[in-house]
Symmetry: C2
DNA sequence: CTACAAGTTCAAGTGAGCTTGAAGTCAAGG
DNA sequence: CCTTGACTTCAAGCTCACTTGAACTTGTAG
């Protein structure tokens, strides 16, 4: 398959495909002319990339996941599902954050206590202030020191 | 309150506060020296901004929400809770998308049907349509206009 | 053969949400 | 007086995930 066919079938722009290849997320061979030739399996990889992005993984993380696939043979369904473990937990984290926020909407904003220095949900000084500027503990930034997610 | 105190109490960097003011999200008066003087209520607005960001609203959208507050008097709890209606539904949308993705992980990747032109979950047309360039907002770009998805 | 569509590389641009740096102002302390 | 430090503005830089444009080569139809 040439790049425009892959683009058409995947819904991902050709420029994005070149970008992914540059980043090592997908591979291609070259025809004598220098044009890219993609194997059919690339569609599966691209699908994985798109899924994982929706879940919230960065391209770098996705690349790291894809490197866990066997290099010597076509990945099986089992290979793919092993990768999914990562993002299942990611999804759960996100959902619980959203549910915390949703709860905060009624208890915190609804009751009118929405104020950064008093509202328990929205950041007591006792926690966030210690962490200095930048990380907002209450927002779901992990307490210890992990750098922010996008 | 001067800018550094607001920054300290809110956990939002002074540079970000100036940026928000430039964007019209918050306001300040000026001391004779030209230094910003913030009223206490600004902390409430900032809390709202930070909450809304985590929910996935852009600063532009947040600005639009904030403009719905009464300009002539300090907003009441009721004023704030009216605004929250928007993002409550936003949160629900996002949660349900995540749950769809999570389900897709087992049914779609697990079963090996992961292929963009057949799997409804990956929804190529929707992506190809409008989500084009730019950042994919943290976890889920707000879909511009929804078509039902898997 | 000529057109022209489609491929190539590489560099620069985009947009959101800021941060950083340069250059300057102002108040307080020694 | 000088220094320090917090403030100001304005411009430029940063990250991420791409897109766009320039300049060029290949493939194919007529």
């Amino acid at each position: 398959m040439n790049i425009s066919e892959v683009a058409r079938r995947s819904g991902v722009a050709a420029s994005a495909l070149r970008f992914y290849e540059e980043r090592g997320l997908i591979q291609s061979e070259r025809a004598g002319s220098g044009h890219r030739r993609f194997p059919r399996e690339v569609l599966r990889r691209i699908a994985f990339i798109v899924f994982a992005q929706r879940v919230g993984l960065s391209l770098e993380e996705i690349g790291a996941e894809l490197k866990k696939l066997p290099p010597d043979r076509a990945p099986t369904g089992r290979d793919w599902s092993r990768l999914s473990a990562t993002w299942t937990s990611r999804i759960d984290e996100r959902i619980s954050e959203l549910e915390r926020l949703k709860a905060g909407l009624t208890t915190c904003i609804g009751c009118g206590c929405l104020s950064l220095d008093r509202c328990a949900l929205s950041n007591p000084n006792d926690r966030a202030a210690k962490l200095g500027p930048g990380p907002r503990y209450w927002m779901g930034d992990r307490p210890p020191k992990r750098a922010g997610q996008g």
